[in-house]
C-alpha cells in the first residue's frame, strides 16, 4: 500500500489552471484527425484539378460555347473553359466549402450538444469553468479546425495551379481560401447556437446542414430570376462565392458579413446557454 497523504493543502508544485486553453486544445485534438482528413482531400482535389486541366481545357473550350448561360451562372458566372472557372467549379464552389462546413458542424455539434448528450459536460462543468468560457473555447477550436481546411484548400489550389500550369493568382487562391474558411465559421456559429439551445446532436447537425443546403440553393437559383435575384443576398452562401474570390481575391465586406454573422450567433448563444438547465 502506498504511503498516505492527508488531503490538506498541496505542498508540492501544482498544475496551474488554464480552463479556456484546456478546453480549446482538447476540442482541437478530438477533431484534428477529421480536419486533417478533409484537408488531405482538398490537397488531393487540387492535384486532380491541376492534373486534368491540360487534357481537358480544349474540350471545355468547345463545350462552353454549347452550354446554356444558366449553366455558367450556376458555376458562379465563370466558364469552365478558363483555369479559374475549372478550379472554381471543381474545388472552390462546392467541395471545399462542404468540407469546411462539415468540419465546423461536426466539431461544434460533438463539442457542445455531444458533451451534453454523453454526459461528460456534468463533470467538466463541475470544474471552475464558466459556461461562457466553455462556449468560447469550443468556438475557438472550431475556427482553428476550419482554418486547417481553408489552408489545405489554398495549398490544393497552389499544387493544382503548378501541376496544370493554370496560372491561378496568389490573391485569388488566398481569397478563395479565406472565403472557404469564413463560410465554415458562419455555419459553425449556426451549429453552436442550435447545439447550445437544444443539447441534441441529431437536431443540431440536421438543422445546421439543412440551413447550409437551403442557403446554397437560394444563392444558386434565385439569381436566375430577375425578380428574385436580390433575395439571394439573404443567403450566407451568396457572401461566400458571389464575388468569385478565386478570380477577384478577397471581398472583405462579404468575409466580414460571414465571420461577423458567425460571431453574432456565438454571442447570441452565450446568455441562452448560461440560463439553460443542462441535461448531462
Amino acid at each position: 500500500m502506498a504511503t498516505t497523504t492527508t488531503p490538506t493543502q498541496a505542498s508540492g508544485p501544482t498544475i496551474a489552471a488554464h480552463p479556456y486553453q484546456a478546453v480549446t486544445s482538447h476540442s482541437i485534438r478530438e477533431r484534428l484527425p477529421l480536419a486533417i482528413l478533409v484537408g488531405t482531400l482538398m490537397l488531393g482535389m487540387g492535384l486532380l484539378v491541376g492534373g486534368l486541366w491540360p487534357s481537358l481545357k480544349g474540350t471545355f473550350a468547345d463545350l462552353e460555347a454549347q452550354l446554356p448561360e444558366i449553366f455558367t451562372a450556376l458555376l458562379g458566372g465563370v466558364g469552365l473553359g478558363t483555369p479559374v472557372g475549372w478550379a472554381n467549379a471543381e474545388l472552390v464552389a462546392l467541395v471545399a466549402p462542404i468540407g469546411a462546413i462539415a468540419v465546423a458542424l461536426i466539431a461544434t455539434t460533438q463539442g457542445i450538444a455531444g458533451e451534453e448528450e454523453t454526459k461528460t459536460l456534468g463533470v467538466l462543468l463541475s470544474a471552475p469553468i464558466s459556461r461562457t468560457t466553455f462556449i468560447l473555447a469550443k468556438a475557438t477550436a472550431m475556427v482553428f479546425l476550419v482554418a486547417i481546411v481553408g489552408v489545405a484548400s489554398y495549398l490544393g489550389l497552389l499544387i493544382g495551379s503548378a501541376v496544370g500550369d493554370m496560372g491561378l493568382s496568389q490573391s485569388g487562391m488566398i481569397g478563395a481560401s479565406v472565403h472557404i474558411t469564413a463560410v465554415g465559421i458562419f455555419f459553425g456559429g449556426v451549429a453552436i447556437l442550435i447545439g447550445a439551445i437544444s443539447g441534441k446532436r441529431r437536431l443540431t447537425i440536421g438543422a445546421a446542414a439543412g440551413l447550409a443546403g437551403l442557403s446554397f440553393a437560394a444563392a444558386s437559383f434565385l439569381p436566375l430570376s430577375d425578380s428574385l435575384a436580390n433575395g439571394a443576398k439573404a443567403s450566407p452562401w451568396y457572401y461566400f462565392n458571389n464575388a468569385i474570390p478565386l478570380a477577384n481575391g478577397i471581398e472583405w465586406t462579404h468575409v466580414l458579413i460571414l465571420i461577423g454573422g458567425g460571431a453574432l450567433l456565438v454571442v447570441t448563444t452565450l446568455p441562452i446557454f448560461k440560463r439553460r438547465d443542462l441535461r448531462g
Binding site: 498541496a10 508544485p13 498544475i15 463541475s126 471552475p128 438547465d277
Partner: protein, 316 residues
C-alpha cells in the same frame, strides 16, 4: 464565514407539474460526512446538480460555505470535488490524459498526489478510458474528485463497480478528508455504503427530506424485534393493545413481535403467559431504511401539486 458547508432553504425544482425537489431544507456541517439517502428518482442528483449550478431551482436558495450557489458558482466549484452518479469520461483519452485535462481545468493539482491516489485505488492510467470496466472508470472519476484536495466532496453514488478492497480504500480517503477538515456529501441509494463512514444521514423521498439524524440516533429509532417462546400456545390478540407494535406473528408457542418505542408495555403483555425463551434483535440501518422505502411505496395518492414516486422516474 458560516460553519455550514451546505445550507439549503426551501429548495424546489419542478418539471411541469412534477416536483423533483420539493421545499427541501438541509444543513450539512463543515467537517462532517453526510449521507444523502433515497431511492432512485427521489431527487438526490437533482439537488446536487442544483448545488453545482448545472440546473436551476424554481424556488428556494442554497449556499456552500456561505456563498450563493448561483452568484458565486465559480468560486464554489474551485472548492468542490464532484463525481456524478452517471459518470461519463472521454473514451479516446487514457486515464492519465483524462486526469491531466481535468487538472488543467481546475488548477492547484499536485502531480505526486494524483500518482498517490492512483496507486491507492489501483488505477491503471495507461489505458484508454473506452477500454475500462465500470469500476476502473469510476476510479478515474474518484481521482479527479479528490486530486485538488477540495474542501467539499460531493459524491453521487461513488461506489459503483468498485470491488470491496477498493471500497475500503475509498472509505479511508473519505475519513482522511474529514480528519483534514474537509466535508463530504455522500449520495447513495444503498445504506450499507453510507453506514460505515457517515456521521449523519438525511433521507429524501418524493423530493422532500423526511429524516435527518445521526447514524446512532437513527438506530435508536429502529424497529426492533422480540421472538418469544411460550410454555403454552399463545392466544391470538395477546399484544393487540400494546403501544408501538408494528407487527405480530403468532404460531403456536412462538410469537414474533416487531415494535418501536418503549419495551415495558410489550414485556408486561408477554408476562401474562409463562415465557420459556426470549430472543432480541436490533434492526440494522438497512432495515430502517427499507422501512422508509416501504412507507414510500404505501404512500397515499398525492394531493394536486404534490409529487409522487412514479412521476419522478426520469429524475436522477
Amino acid at each position: 464565514m458560516s460553519d455550514a458547508a451546505i445550507e439549503i432553504n426551501g429548495l424546489t425544482k419542478r418539471y411541469g407539474s412534477m416536483f423533483a425537489v420539493n421545499d427541501l431544507d438541509l444543513r450539512v456541517n463543515a467537517g462532517e460526512i453526510f449521507g444523502f439517502l433515497g431511492p432512485n428518482g427521489a431527487g438526490k442528483s437533482t439537488t446536487i446538480r442544483i448545488l453545482l449550478d448545472q440546473i436551476r431551482a424554481n424556488d428556494g436558495s442554497a449556499s456552500i460555505f456561505g456563498r450563493d450557489i448561483r452568484a458565486d458558482s465559480l468560486e464554489i466549484r474551485r472548492m468542490v470535488g464532484y463525481i456524478p452518479g452517471d459518470l461519463a469520461l472521454y473514451p479516446k483519452l487514457t486515464g492519465k490524459q483524462t486526469l491531466d485535462y481535468f487538472a488543467r481545468l481546475r488548477g492547484g493539482v499536485e502531480k505526486s498526489y494524483v500518482d498517490e491516489l492512483a496507486e491507492r485505488l489501483k488505477a491503471d492510467l495507461s489505458r484508454k478510458v473506452g477500454e475500462y470496466s465500470t469500476g476502473n472508470r469510476q476510479k478515474i472519476g474518484l481521482i479527479q474528485a479528490f486530486m485538488h484536495r477540495p474542501k467539499l466532496l460531493i459524491l453521487d453514488e461513488p461506489n459503483a463497480g468498485l470491488d470491496p478492497l477498493i471500497q475500503q480504500e475509498f472509505h479511508s480517503l473519505l475519513t482522511e478528508a474529514r480528519e483534514a477538515g474537509g466535508t463530504v456529501f455522500l449520495s447513495s441509494h444503498t445504506l450499507s455504503e453510507v453506514e460505515r463512514v457517515a456521521d449523519r444521514v438525511g433521507i429524501i423521498r418524493h423530493g422532500r427530506l423526511i429524516e435527518v439524524s445521526r447514524v446512532d440516533e437513527l438506530k435508536s429509532k429502529a424497529i426492533r424485534r422480540l421472538d418469544f417462546e411460550f410454555v403454552e400456545p399463545a392466544p391470538e390478540g395477546m399484544f393487540d393493545n400494546v403501544p408501538g407494535i408494528r407487527s405480530v406473528e403468532i404460531d403456536g408457542v412462538h410469537a414474533r413481535v416487531s415494535f418501536d418505542g418503549g419495551i415495558n408495555d410489550l414485556l408486561k403483555a408477554a408476562m401474562t403467559r409463562e415465557v420459556a425463551n426470549l430472543h432480541s434483535r436490533e434492526a440494522d440501518l438497512e432495515e430502517i431504511f427499507l422501512a422508509f422505502y416501504r412507507d414510500d411505496e404505501s404512500a397515499p395518492e398525492p394531493a394536486p401539486g404534490e409529487s409522487r414516486k412514479g412521476d419522478e422516474a426520469h429524475v436522477r
